[in-house]
Amino acid sequence: MFYREAGQYKTTYAADMAIFPIRQDRFGVALILFVAFVIIPAFGGPFFLNTMMIPFLILSLAGIGLNLLTGYTDLLSLGTGAFMGVGAYACYKLETAFPQVNILVWIVTSGFVSAAVGVAFGLPSLRIKGFYLAVATLAAQFFLEWCFSRVPWLVNDNDSGAIEVPNATLFGVFVTGPNATPTTRYLVALTIVAALAWIASNIVHGRIGRMWMAVRDMDIAAQLIGIRLLNAKLLAFAVSSFIVGVAGALMVFLWLGAAEPAAFNIDLSFEILFIVIIGGLGSIVGAFFGATVMHLMPIALRALPPMVGLPIEAARVDQLTTMITGILIVVFLIAEPHGLARLWRTAKQKLRVWPFPY
């Protein structure tokens, strides 16, 4: 009844191709942004921001990055964790070498470093496809992980082998490091994630996005209609690694505060891949849904037994959580193999024609 576009006329091509063509959608997005920027920081406690909202945003961003590669271009990558690591280590090196420069500049620059590494490891994708490519990207995962733990230059010869985030300020306010408040870190993360999600959304709606989707649907056919596969695939690797790298930098600088090489291991790659698949391949909003499920579900599962008063020891809870996560993944895949984004679309369609079935 309320979600209906009757009477909204589109008079220009630009209006027709807008990311949110329907007024109610624009209103909804504005509302979500208002809640995210004003309500949550005003009322959210440090625990809520630290363990739920900040990781949720960062994992969503990584999900968007991987989705550009796997969902839009059909290049399956299992090296996401390592590319996040590249972003994090690059940001750490740059920030400790030139602390006087604005931290935001370094976060963005570290994205470019990650993009360069991504292009290098994306080169085999021109010849190798499918699962063969997935295993080839594992080469990136293990090689980069090895670099993080074996090259002391990357951690500034730190004895612990870990990177620790220095205090950095933005307009006189502490943004990263132990002195930054959760609210500041949340707002910075939110701004960057919102901006990058907006850019990614614009890319996939435009010429580049269509090029990627043509390659996804059939790369030889795409080549025949004049798409250069070399450019398309490497561009997908570059943009995807850029976003993933920024997500990695944010993960260490705004969420964890310090990280060891093991933080970027293959489990992280799989977690991001799950976010993409459960959220929906080829959907930007899906990454947010997927991150909600994959990050908040274990937290909820862990919080559940104490809430209902079941006395279970912590180790047991962890094991049960792993088990139930596995079951839920299979259940999600069986219930909706196209991901939560598809459910969302179906729900919107139902709402539009309500009270009629079609």
Binding site: V135, F142, E145, W146, F274, Q319, L320, V330
Partner: protein, 318 residues
């Protein structure tokens, strides 16, 4: 110049000057390769029959070994424990087929891959819940696996062969031969090959896909058990063993996803190449290069043959 010398001349000089050390390294690589090949074999069996890239193969190996050891710790005699473990693997095969594969039939490959990752998570949680997270030692004596080592005088030096490794290689060879006979000579084997060739054609001549999938997953489970016993005997039985299974992936793509001989040859190439690389070139890079060298070797091969050494040629049509 120094660098070129260190990379190309020095390792070769080392190899020539100490041939016994070279033989020892090659033998260790060979054994590791055989065990990688066994894991890869489990992958290939399932991929051929159902097109599922089964990530759970590694955890199936750990789970099988844990079940065996766990039962033996409860006081069950070794042979009965072995039988029970095989029964558990059969139950797992039926469960996976019923609850995961059948509802997901005809879905894209990546969805099935994710589903096997879900199975992996489940088995990790379940295994830890039932057997605890502590490493256990394999019941080698009860299974009559040999221990100790044979010293061979070779090339004026001495090469040490663990009896356990010899047994592992022997059993791997017997198993591969058995599987080859099973595939070529039996009715079920023919049905398996038919399914591997073309699902729909196999269905149309009356091969039951459900049954075949259970058989394949069960076979992969038994292979996993054998692998688990030997890896478990070489180190402890723990969830860390799962990492070893990731080493089977380069073996897999090197040999070709659909080829049983490919898994064996790929395993040997990776196993020997990795040990030689680590031993002779590893120190140049600060060691630990074993973790990624296998992938680089596989990648170099793939650049020349994108379908692996023995994989079916990929023909693309518009």
């Amino acid at each position: 110049m120094d660098l070129l010398h260190a990379v190309f001349v020095d390792p070769v000089a080392q190899m020539i000057s100490a041939p016994d050390l070279l033989a020892q390294t090659v033998w260790e690589g060979f054994v590791a390769g055989v065990l990688y090949a066994l894991i890869a074999l489990g992958f290939v069996l399932i991929y051929k029959a159902s097109g599922v890239f089964n990530f759970a193969q590694g955890i199936m190996m750990v789970f099988a070994a844990l079940t065996l050891v766990g039962l033996a710790e409860k006081g069950v005699p070794a042979w009965i424990a072995l039988g029970l473990t095989i029964a558990v693997m059969y139950g797992l095969a039926v469960g996976v087929e019923r609850l995961v594969l059948r509802p997901l039939v005809n879905q894209p490959d990546i969805i099935l891959l994710m589903a096997t990752l879900g199975v992996t998570y489940f088995l990790i949680g379940f295994g830890e819940l039932v057997f605890g997270g502590n490493p256990k030692s394999m019941i080698t004596k009860e299974l009559f696996l040999p221990s100790g080592a044979i010293n061979l005088a070779l090339f004026g030096g001495r090469v040490q062969l663990q009896k356990l490794d010899i047994a592992a290689a022997a059993i791997a060879i017997v198993m591969v031969a058995g599987l080859a006979v099973f595939f070529q000579k039996t009715r079920i084997g023919r049905a398996l090959r038919a399914v591997a060739d073309d699902h729909q054609a196999a269905l149309s001549v009356g091969v039951s896909l459900d049954q075949i999938w259970v058989i394949v997953w069960f076979t992969a489970g038994v292979v996993a058990l054998a692998t688990g016993i030997f890896w478990g005997a070489r180190s402890d039985v723990s969830f860390a063993l799962q990492v070893v299974s990731l080493k089977a992936l380069p073996v897999l793509i090197l040999g070709g996803l659909t080829s049983v001989p490919g898994a064996i040859v790929g395993g040997l190439i990776i196993g020997v190449g990795e040990k030689l690389g680590e031993f002779y070139w590893g120190p140049l890079l600060g060691g630990g290069i074993e973790s990624w060298l296998a992938y680089i070797i596989a990648l170099v091969f793939l650049l020349f043959r994108p379908q692996g050494l023995f994989g079916e040629k990929i023909i693309e049509r518009i």
